[in-house]
Symmetry: C2
Subunit: 209 residues, 2 copies
């Protein structure tokens, strides 16, 4: 298909598609004639992946490039590529406080308590530690033990989620795990917010139906 058709199929404007091509986020189409290229389903899928990372994941362009590089590097075993993509999805920031060090130690306890096979330097550890710091500083008397009870359900959901990943085709597998990671987690967040509004209505509300 031509770029105008790729635009229709993906719902993204031609000028944005050209920007993705220039930035190397989107692989070039097959040359067809002078100044014309042919795009296919792999381009439609890649545009959707970029949109998911950009809009649902709120990722910066440089981080999106790192995710896509891991998706595309066929020399990387899929579990390793998954780890790299996961790390790229965690915003980098300075973390040096004593509170942070304490929270991170709690995260290590948490993963070993639950027998999780997670890289020692996985960025998701820092992401969780940041939240613990914010909760403690915000006066919310919470520690990571609060999540112990939910862990069996979360592990079952993660395993069920990966069961939707196709058995073959490395790129399809990677795309599914990356879109899945982002889309499920934002979905869970949205559902939690709906539940919180309901709970707030029960605790504080009167006339909201």
């Amino acid at each position: 298909m031509r770029i105008a058709e790729l635009s229709d199929a993906s719902g993204i404007s031609v000028s944005t598609l050209k920007y993705y091509l220039r930035e190397g986020l989107l692989h070039p189409g097959a040359a067809r004639a002078v100044n014309q290229a042919d795009y296919d389903d792999s381009h439609v899928r890649r545009v959707r992946l970029i949109r998911a990372l950009l809009e649902l994941g709120n990722l910066q362009l440089t981080d999106i490039k790192r995710v896509l590089a891991a998706v595309d590097d066929e020399t990387l075993p899929i579990h390793e590529a998954f780890g790299i993509a996961q790390d790229a999805m965690v915003p980098r920031r300075d973390r040096e406080s004593a509170e942070y060090a304490r929270a991170l130690a709690d995260v290590y306890d948490f993963t070993s308590r639950h027998g999780l096979r997670v890289r020692p330097d996985a960025q998701a550890r820092g992401m969780l530690a940041d939240c613990l710091v914010a909760m403690r500083c915000g006066g919310l008397a919470v520690d990571v033990h609060a999540f112990d009870a939910q862990m069996p359900a979360i592990l079952a959901a993660a395993s069920e989620e990966l069961s939707h990943v196709p058995d073959h085709d490395r790129v399809l597998q990677m795309e599914a795990t990356v879109v899945g990671t982002i889309a499920y987690e934002v979905a869970v967040a949205a559902i939690r917010r709906l539940a919180l509004e309901h709970a707030s209505s029960e605790r504080f509300g009167h006339s909201v139906g």
Copy 2:
């Protein structure tokens, strides 16, 4: 305390604090002498709230201002202010596709199926619909029914979360609900990612310990 002490207490540089003051994110300190102001715990808490919205919530400045306006408007009943703050935490975007309309209808079914008291125009509905669209377009055969089984646990967690909100002091209540919404949801996301890495190791991995 002086601005340098506020900087120490909050871990945020004086120049950033001055920027928050200029932008009206942070309320002025009490005048103390020419060119000197006195800051207190309410400023420390507010800086933490801003950081949570900025770093964990990934919010834009304009949205942070809307959240803070709802926190500070004492004429707003707390449940209403909570709704406004929640809405400000969902990124605005164009949503016009037929897929989106279908997904949004599924979200309405979901909330009424679970008897959730949620405003018809709550932005979290759109947030959830966006995820359903991304999953479907991404070839993940999922619908919102997949979350039905988790709903009782999510509702119980929401209610437990709000139980940490203090009984008095409207500003403290609002700050706790807002920090809580963001910090818990990012914590749940981080824990899901740890669980996914574990599941990926079981499905795809070999030597990661």
